[in-house]
Every structure is written in C-alpha cells, then in structure tokens.
C-alpha cells in the first residue's frame, strides 16, 4: 500500500520513525534507479539513497517538508547528490553520464507497472543473444569488450545485437511518447554547470 505524501510529511514533522519507514517503502526503489541513471551502479546508488535518508532523518529535515513538493525535493536532491558523487569520482566524466532526464519520476510514477510490463514483454520477443547482451551491458554494466568475452562473440557482434535490440524496442515503445511531453533532453551539449549546484 502506498502511503500518501501528506501522511508521510505529517509523520516526519512529528519526527516519527513511521514517517521514514513509509518514505522508504514508497521512494527507495525509484530513487535508487534514479540515482543509478547517473551513477550507473546499483550498490553505489543504494548507498547514496540510504545515506540521504539517514541525513534527512538525523537533521530532521522532515520539519520543513511539504507534501506538494516532497516528490520533487527527493528526486532533485538525489540527482544533485549523484552528480556530486560523480564530480568527486571523475571531474572529467564522460559526457554521456550527463543525460539529463527531466522529471522522469513522474514518468516512473505513472507508468511504472506499465513500462515494466511492456518492456518485459518486448524483451521476451527479442532473440536470446540480444537478451544476453542487454543483461550484460545494462545489468552487469559490462563494456562491449567484456560482454563480447563473456558471450564468446566478436565485439562487432555485440555492437550489432545491441543496436538492433534498442531499435526494435524503440519502435515498439514509440507510441508511449504520445502520453507525455518530451521529457528527455541532452545536457551534455550545454555543459553541465547549472546541474551541479
């Protein structure tokens, strides 16, 4: 059961542990995925989000939170923390890590089940090799080279399989764009200063 934000906020306002429990239940997983969009590593993202929740609790930030803005506060904070962490790790990080997804949590929120279900079905339809490539690249974060080694194929094959898989998925998922305004844009071109604040 998802607890409404106003309940979470009022519990946090009274510094009740239940408030942080409910917040965890509701937001932990989406926030981890959201952080991983930048950090590209699930354990690190989990650490980041848990750290964030602990600080939130200890500093009693809950006193100032408003239900209307709770969601955007959480996502924006995690976004900033993620970029912060990246910045520390590698100041000259690859531009691609800065793909900025604007308000993706709304998408995540509204379409979570739908997206997951749809993606699952679509992936089922892919050839087995493509599925393996996707797992290696997306789940295990392997490079093309490592993926090629693991699967015992040429790098160029990994290349092709991945491109074909994404193309296919893109075509199948295209109708979803109609639901939403364009959410994604590329910030790499604008250089990233404004997102680091």
């Amino acid at each position: 059961m998802q607890i409404p934000d106003d309940v979470i906020c009022s519990l946090l306002k009274q510094h009740q542990t239940k408030g942080i429990d409910y917040m965890f239940d509701k937001y932990y997983r989406p926030l981890v995925l959201w952080a991983a969009t930048f950090v590209n590593d699930i354990p690190k993202s989990e650490d980041l989000v848990q750290d964030f929740f602990v600080k939130l609790w200890e500093k009693d930030v809950g006193r100032t939170l408003l239900p209307e803005t709770l969601k955007s506060f959480l996502y924006t904070s995690v976004h900033n923390l993620a970029l912060d962490r990246l910045e520390k790790k590698d100041p000259l990080r690859d531009a691609v890590e800065l793909i900025h997804v604007r308000r993706p949590w709304e998408e995540y929120d509204y379409f979570k089940e739908e997206i997951f279900q749809k993606m699952k079905e679509e992936i089922e339809h892919l050839p087995e090799r493509s599925r393996e490539v996707i797992t290696c690249v997306y789940l295990e974060g392997k490079s093309y080279k490592e993926t090629a080694q693991v699967l015992g194929v040429a790098v160029s094959t990994v290349n092709t399989l991945l491109v074909n898989a994404l193309k296919k998925l893109r075509e199948q998922a295209r109708d979803m764009t109609e639901y939403l305004t364009l959410l994604f844009y590329l910030s790499a071109f604008e250089r990233n200063k404004e997102y680091l604040q």
Partner: protein, 381 residues
C-alpha cells in the same frame, strides 16, 4: 551522415558511453536543430532509461530492515554519547520480544514515539505470597511442593508437577497478574494452555490434585484445555462457571456485569445462578450477572480470539469498543470530542506489535473521523 544504420549505431553507443570526442560531436551535430532528429534521439533515450530501470530494478538489494539497522546503528552511536544509561535500559526491556516483534523493528527505534504497544509481562504471586515480576527473560522457580515453574524467553511459562506424587501436600495456589500493556502465556501443570490478555488475572493451583481442575479468571483469557474426562476443567469468572470437556475457547469479563464466552472447538457448559447452558463451536454466550440470564448467539469467532495470535481484528465494531481494546494494549486514554463518534462502526486488521497510528490512519480513511495523538491521549473528532 544520412545513413540510418550509422546513426542508430552512433546513438546507441552514445548512450552506452562508447564514443570518443569526435564521434560525440558528430552525434551532437546530427541532433541539433532538427526536430525530427531530436525526437528520434529521445526515443532512444527513453528506451535506454526504461531498460536500465527494468533491468536494474531486480538488482536492488536494500530493504527496510537493512535500512533500519543502518539508521539504528547511527542513532545508537549518537545516543550513547549523550544518555548512555537510558538507552541500555530501553534496549533491555524489549529484548525478549524478538520472536513476536517483526524482526525488522529494532527495539530502540520506537523509543521516541510516546505510544508503545504492550509486551509479554506479568506479576506472578507464588503460593507463599511472594511476588516475582516476570517477562521474557528466562527464569526457573520451584514451588514448595516441588512443582517446577519455568519462564521461557518467548514470554511464556510452564508448570511441571514434581514426581513426588501423593505426598499429601495440599494444592498451592498461584496468581498471575497481567497489567495494561501486557500479555502472557502459560502452560498449567495438566498441560492446559492459557493466553492471558492485558489487564487480566488468573488464579490456579500449581498442580491439580482434586476431582476438578478449577481456575479463576478476571479479564480476558483464551484456553486450550488438555482433555481429561475424569477431571473436568472449570473456569470461574465473576459468578459464572464455565465447565469444560477438552476444548478451546475465549472468556472475557471486561464488560461490567457480563461474562462472555466464545467457543472455538469442543464443548463447554456455562452456568450462573440458573441452569447450565451448553455451547457449540462458533457460539458466544453472555452471562448477565444482573438477571442471571445467559444469552447465546452464533458469531464469527475470529475477532474474539485474534489477540491470541498477536492481532487486532475488528469487524463492524463500534469505535468505543475498539478503543477500549486498544487502550488496554497501548495504555491510551481516549477523549471523544463528539459523542456520536463512539457509535461509528469500523473494521480493520492489524498486528498488535505495530504502531497504533497505522490503524488510526486507516480508520480515518474509512470514515469521517479524525484522530490525533498527544502524549498517550487519543483525541477523536
């Protein structure tokens, strides 16, 4: 750069961070200024992000128990520094509850909330009159007649009669008092199991030697009587006798002038001033002290006995009655800002060891009532 395949490849690789600077510039040039291209690129982005979410979702390991431990560790460090003694005490109180409390609930976590659920605790008066506080820390006692009393760490105790049979020692009576916010389980010398609810008392011999097994109850208890045809088990509650022939049932004397028995299994007979009334399973009998009458009706037994398994189950029950039960377990006072609120009928299910606020929030959603808790008082409006 018009070749579709080349662009697709570049875009996918771009998302994977596989491009060098020169190639990235290429991608940028292709996207910029062309609305179609931008859209096309965004579709890739979307698939990319969705794929990431989906695949990664399964890799998330952290859960609430894990997080709570982390939080508890941090907090404990902080608190040891300031009020070391206090926390040790708090931790000590809850330790034995491990088996009943959901495992994720670190004992000190709820130290700050004022309203706490009850726990296994009672006062045992031995036949000598000596009082021994018992909870869920293990303990071994011996009665003067050799009966061994063992208090177990799960918040229960059991009696074992000594093998010195027939030495003519008279029955020693024990008296168990469970306070508000308490519950306790015991196994009597004959193997009968008794669950005592909050604010309840039971007197019983530490071994049964007579022709009948007689116990006295005030409050609420659930009995699972060990069968013994030759020696009936009798619960005396107020002026009613409940005679048992090997069975499971709940007895409740909380309502003024009423002894309520709900039979789950077997047969019991209830007798007040009048003649005995025999109950069948799923029947509830109310003995009214005032007129000496016994009223019998068929009920769903679950709401009456759920407490035994650590739950609150309310089915279309009046708020007044619900709050009576909650206040015994959480030690709450209830203040009704509007009198008619008492008659509002509600349903709900919750584990007894959870935060009472959960249930109140649920009631708010299912009615037009508002609850606020200040200190240990619940205000209803």
């Amino acid at each position: 750069m018009s070749d579709k395949n080349e662009i697709d490849t570049l875009l996918v690789h771009f998302l994977q961070g596989q491009l060098n600077r020169e190639e990235r510039e290429k991608v940028k040039a292709w996207i910029t200024g062309e609305e179609d291209h931008e859209r096309y690129f965004q579709e890739f982005c979307r698939v990319h992000v969705h794929l990431q979410w989906m695949v990664r979702e399964n890799a998330i390991k952290g859960d609430l128990p894990m997080f709570r431990q982390r939080l508890a560790r941090r907090r404990r460090i902080g608190r040891y520094a300031s009020v070391a003694a206090g926390i040790v005490l708090l931790l000590g109180v809850g330790l034995g509850l491990r088996q009943v409390v959901p495992a994720w609930m670190p004992d000190d976590e709820y130290a700050e909330s004022v309203v706490h659920p009850g726990k296994a605790q009672a006062m045992l008066y031995l036949s000598s009159g000596v009082m021994v506080p018992i909870d869920s820390s293990g303990k071994k006692l011996t009665e003067f007649d050799g009966t061994a009393i063992e208090v177990h760490e799960n918040g229960s105790m059991s009696y074992k009669a000594s093998s010195r049979e027939g030495d003519g020692v008279k029955e020693g009576m024990n008296h168990l008092v469970v306070p508000r916010k308490g519950e306790f389980r015991l196994t009597l010398a004959d193997g009968t199991k008794v669950w005592l609810n909050s604010e309840s008392e039971l007197s019983y011999p530490c071994k049964f030697t007579g022709k009948e097994r007689v116990v006295h109850l005030k409050g609420e208890a659930y009995f699972e009587v060990a069968p013994n045809k030759a020696c009936p088990f009798i619960v005396k509650a107020n002026e009613a006798d409940i005679k048992v022939y090997g069975t499971q049932f709940n007895v409740n004397t909380r309502r003024e002038g009423i002894v309520e028995t709900v039979l789950v299994e077997g047969t019991v007979g209830m007798k007040g001033r009048g003649k005995e009334q025999v109950l069948k399973p799923n029947q509830k009998a109310e003995y009214h002290v005032g007129d000496g009458e016994i009223r019998v009706e068929t009920v769903d037994v679950l709401p009456y006995i759920a407490w035994r398994d650590g739950n609150f189950v309310f089915e279309n029950e009046s708020l007044a009655s619900i709050m009576d039960k909650l206040s015994l377990w959480y030690d709450l006072k209830v203040f009704y800002k509007r009198e008619d609120a008492k008659e509002v009928r509600l349903s709900g299910i919750m584990e007894r060891y959870r935060d009472v606020n959960e249930l109140l929030r649920f009631f708010e959603k299912s009615s037009d009532l508002k609850f606020s808790v200040r200190e240990t008082t619940v205000f209803v409006e």
